[in-house]
Symmetry: C2
Subunit: 313 residues, 2 copies
Amino acid sequence: MEKYAIGVDIGGTTVKLGLFDTQGQAAERWEIPTVKEDGGARILPEIAQSIKDKLNSLHLTEADILGVGVGAPGPVDAEGTVHKAVNLGWDVFNIPQALRKYLDLPVKAANDANVAAFGEMWQGGGKGHANIVAVTLGTGVGGGIIVNGSILTGATGAGGEIGHIHIEDNETEPCGCKNYGCLEQYASATGVVRLARRRLAQDQEPSVLRSRGELSAKAVWDAVKAQDGVAIRIAEQFGEYLGKGLAAVAAVANPEVFVIGGGVSKAGEILFDYIRPAYEKYVFQGCRDAQFALATLGNDAGIFGAAGMIINE
Amino acid sequence: MEKYAIGVDIGGTTVKLGLFDTQGQAAERWEIPTVKEDGGARILPEIAQSIKDKLNSLHLTEADILGVGVGAPGPVDAEGTVHKAVNLGWDVFNIPQALRKYLDLPVKAANDANVAAFGEMWQGGGKGHANIVAVTLGTGVGGGIIVNGSILTGATGAGGEIGHIHIEDNETEPCGCKNYGCLEQYASATGVVRLARRRLAQDQEPSVLRSRGELSAKAVWDAVKAQDGVAIRIAEQFGEYLGKGLAAVAAVANPEVFVIGGGVSKAGEILFDYIRPAYEKYVFQGCRDAQFALATLGNDAGIFGAAGMIINE
């Protein structure tokens, strides 16, 4: 009898769910809204109910399910205790214990970025590797580190917070974390726009980026692909920061592969042309052969990873 | 019947060995010379013979021994395969397989710095913690990272090579690794001397360091303790570099405690007065509460850790 695992990815507006077989095929995917009233107290009961309804509709029972993996947007420690998830209104509590009040199944929980990294290792851009660093270049820069097939959670669930590596001493604007000069300030989508704005203000060199209304990371990378000189220099700066940051990460975690995802990664493999030279310049020799790959699971990395924690960890 | 584990720490001139009970007490410690002739081919047979002789002399047999842990000075992967240990003349081979030709016991092997970190977690400055970063401030800067009670080996055995995090863009002298601006160039014993030499050359400000023949890290820290103004500014620079580097490490590995050892650490807890301010300035908030502790096992960390890998991993 085929067994399944359920992956749950709790976001600020939507909870994504997926039913996976042990080979990593998604048999079902669905979503429910994230109900944030009452300090988020209804989120887990509604997830449990939705899972029960889905199993009923598929003529499955809890006996067919190996367990439920949960990714949550906040620091989650190795025991699955969340230490405040402000987006959800959650304080401090143990997610597996709480969910098991409503569902008689094994439950594991971890931080959503770490769970997504696990998904990319299991079925995505890092498939076939046991030591990966997943880097999400979105609004911010997120990270998830898999060591020997397991999530590097760290003491307080802050393992893999590589967006907040200090990388620039001369920054005058604060990062969202209140520090100055974090990697996230240069390598995220907003970081690319900031680099572009600063570069454009520096002189009057012609660039297709000047004729555009709103600057975006996508506009910058499109201009790079069109051989725009100013855009290329912005990309070089981006690559210098990110390559240097990932070289520091490599000296700690020594991954086989960096899996790059998030909005900025839609630019494609051209990113690596700008990251790799700086990476190779700054990295310890023994870590030089790390590969760079694009994430392949997109927004589904969370449900894949959450189910994968049940099946594969 | 009490069981024991044997810890072996292979150095460039001496092999240290220890017999440990499962509580981590050293019942015996001894040394043999490291015989480097024949490409290091005699090292493992001589270790095996020395272990057999010791067991005989103690009226113990192989049945009393849980296994042998080995720390080797080179990159060692998760399977115990060493990838060239130039100090020993070793090429690429699997240490457990090789040693088991001479000894009918379970064998585990890892890089010596990682093994020492494991020792400090098991019985040293990191005792009671499962997530530690051990930092050795010696001739170079070494590191060993323990995640959830296990060594972070990495893809090629370069996990925890934190001495080679790039930390200074304006360095003109190369590091031993051939890169420029590695943490090791400022935070090792030789790094402290380099910082001192540069500071003293900068102007003519009086300092007790000027009257000394040979500058050393110890002389600098002694002068700091004597409130020498120039020495204090050298210590601040050292702390700025090391605190910034460890903040980057924290954003990746999120340890509970940094355990600081090696020659420079003999200065004592005064080091932390200079490391902590920079660490707190640059570190991600969620990692801010990491503790700083001194290593306590000194040169025995390797044999403790090697035995600990057998007993405790």
